[in-house]
């Protein structure tokens, strides 16, 4: 179910009405959580009803492992067995449904393996599985580290034998529909502590509506219109494209993937906000990054934060010497790339970022931040990072290596020309992304930042009005969010 569909709008309105119609009482919070969980399962089932069983298996399995861990902790015993079992359970689900086909393609070559290769390749990819399995792992890991804040209510529920409350919280955390399909990846200790009754007067409606409007604008106006040209890149179309067309489409994709994903994240934040839940900000003006390290503090923040906390730190982080740090960076980014899709091109994309992070650390550690603040030098670095990141998006746009290779060949051999249609779409629909980042720059880095901030606050209503009008009159054809495929 797309967020920008009439069906979803109806579901949202009905859910909001039901959610806030629940009368005050001791059970209000629990009923509200149950309602949202039920709606989340319905939301998930809409795309492919049988796959809701998988979500149910994930929720049930993780609730069981979490319960087992807490039971062991309360009994003064090590929960390691349940933790290990739970993590393997989640990785097995992810591995089977997402990576079995890639595994078969890579290791079961030859005609004799044609049948298993076909069978593994036919396994459907359940939407959102990468996101909710990571959230489930976060739940188990947080319980293991004995975090007292955030997940302590789960421990209390088990102590008090409130199994319904315990299971409802786990199910709600894993399946909450705003972030179920494409994040942000929420950590258990950030979310579980928020679960409770909500009243309309508690809600920050203004903030939620702003996030929703901006999110829908980025998705429906920017991303959905840009995809009309980026979807043309591939054989045989690109054989007829000139150099300018190829470059234009690649940068258009760079804007599109930001608008699509950041738009989705903002919509998720806004939706969650309407129900009284705060999700983590997932994008922080990533194309203003002046280094690759900085880029990963701004792009898909919830994933990089998850990888840092649950993979990088357990691997040793930067505490085991420089060489081990570089290796850890590479491993984390390689696996992070592979998380995006069951294709080696994604792993290579992640690995390339890992190498860049390691190189940056080796060559520039400390010195980048220590440099005197010079506007032009900063612009240069921002531009360089943007171009490098955009070039690497080619592996997302064309996961097939043969096509990516052909793109590079054509880029090097074709003459310089650009189709008016491509240039128009790129400039017109890419401009909001540039303006979005420009606003950030003016309010944070430019001289007279306060003046710009005041200007923005005075005229913000006009910008939102224009965005609303353009959503209504000039949206692109509805398309799935890019990150749905991950």
């Amino acid at each position: 179910m797309l967020f920008n569909s009439w069906v979803f709008l109806c579901l949202l309105l009905v859910t909001l009405a039901g959610y806030y119609a629940i009368p005050r009482g001791a059970w209000k919070g629990r009923i509200q959580a149950l309602l949202l969980t039920a709606v989340s399962f319905f939301f998930y089932a809409w795309e492919n009803p049988p796959l809701v069983l998988l979500l149910a298996v994930s929720v049930t399995g993780n609730a069981g492992f979490a319960y087992g861990m807490i039971h062991r902790i309360l009994g003064g015993r090590s929960p390691r067995a349940f933790l290990t079992g739970g993590i393997l359970f989640n990785l097995a689900l992810l591995g089977f449904f997402k990576y079995a086909g890639l595994f078969a393609e890579t290791f079961f070559r030859g005609a004799v393996f044609e049948a298993p290769r076909y069978w593994f390749g036919s396994i459907p990819l359940p939407i959102g599985i990468s996101f909710y399995t990571f959230q489930a792992i976060s739940l188990l890991a947080d319980l293991r580290t004995g975090r007292k804040t955030g997940v302590e209510s789960l421990i209390r529920d088990v102590q008090n034998r409130s199994f319904l409350r315990f299971t409802t919280k786990v199910a709600f955390f894993i399946s909450f529909f705003p972030q179920l399909i494409a994040g942000p990846i929420v950590k258990a200790h950030d979310f579980i502590c928020q679960i409770g009754p909500r009243h309309p007067g508690q809600i920050r409606w203004d903030s939620a509506l702003r996030q929703l409007l901006l999110g829908y604008f980025l998705k429906m106006y920017v991303a959905d219109n840009l995809k009309e040209i980026t979807s043309l890149l591939g054989t045989p179309n690109m054989e007829f494209m000139a150099k300018g067309d190829l470059v234009c489409i690649l940068y258009a994709y760079s804007f599109q993937i930001f608008a699509d994903f950041a738009g989705y994240s903002l919509i998720a934040l806004g939706l969650a906000g309407m129900f009284g839940y705060a999700l983590p900000v997932n994008f922080h003006f990533p194309y203003m990054a002046a280094s690759v390290t900085d880029f990963w503090r701004r792009w898909h923040v919830s994933l990089s934060s998850w990888l840092r906390e649950y993979l990088y730190f357990p691997l040793g982080g930067n505490r085991k010497g420089e060489r081990r740090t570089y290796l850890n960076l590479f491993i984390v980014m390689f696996l992070g790339g592979l998380w995006h899709g069951a294709a080696w091109s994604y792993a290579i994309w992640g690995g390339a970022h890992g190498v860049l992070l390691a190189v940056e650390r080796r060559l520039f550690r400390g010195s980048l931040e220590a440099m005197p603040e010079n506007r032009w030098w900063r612009f240069l670095r921002i531009g360089l990072v943007f171009h490098v990141v955009s070039a690497l998006w080619l592996l997302f746009l064309m996961p097939d290596f043969a096509q990516a290779r052909r793109y590079v060949e054509l880029l090097l051999t074709k003459g310089w020309d650009i189709k008016f249609q491509f240039l128009f779409v790129f400039l017109v629909y890419g401009t909001p992304v540039i303006l979005y980042h420009l606003v950030y720059y003016l309010e944070n880095m430019a001289r007279a930042a306060e003046r710009w901030k005041g200007l923005r606050q005075r005229w913000e209503w006009a910008a939102y009005a224009l965005m609303l009008a353009l959503i209504f009159t000039n949206s692109g054809s509805p398309g799935r969010f890019i990150y749905f495929q991950f």
Partner: protein
Amino acid sequence: MRFWIRVFTAAGLLVVGLQVLFALEWLPVATFAESNLTNNEVRLQKLYRNRDAGLVVLGSSLAGRLPELAFPEEWKAVNLGLDGGNPAFGAGLLLRWNVEPAMVVVEGNSIAKERSGNDPVLEERIRSLTFRRSPWMAPWRAERRPLSVLYSWLKTRKDEAVAGNGETGAGARLTAAVMVTQPGDEELLEGRMIPERLQALRDEGAEVLILMAPDGGASRSEEYRVARAVSARTGIPVLDVKGKLDEESFRYTDGLHLSPPSARRVVKLIAEALDPHRSE
């Protein structure tokens, strides 16, 4: 609260203001769009709203360049030349929507293509709520998308500037459609929908013409064979502008698609073929 009142009021005024400008014809609607899908939606919605069209052009983006306004006004021409499209899809729509034009011009340059990758996408758009309500909900029409209007205006200016306003230099005038006398390859028509659909349109009283349009000298040998085979089976005449006139005497915006003046010239030839008694 005041913030949101301002936002919704201003947005409403913007949308309503735009519609007023369109209604007063102070702002032209888009005839081209910046994406192939939107371009096709503009044309499909126009046909959907004008099911009493007197002449319909079917085909791909080649025929899509033939300006409707260049046809005699009383013919109420609608151009369904779709980007990446084919005449079989368009003919199917005419039958499905019970559009019974008096005249149908079928682009022969794409007659061999029965299905396009775009067809399922277009079918989905046609089924959408936005499309079905577009006759009544003017702000939802693709031709009124503000950025499509801007694109259409810029593109038209650019194409006219490139092509100039002079004559194309097309010499001989085609005074009659070419009737194919020799039989075509019947096997070519096996499994094709186009012969039956065009015959069905004829049975409903439409005068049908297959047009081989100038396209910069592209090789169309298979299309010619299919066009002749369809003509032999159904008796539909073929107007072979591509073969009978020097293609270099026409102007193109990109080596393939006719420039506006050349497209107007071809429309004139079509009009004369359909109505030889028509005076200039």
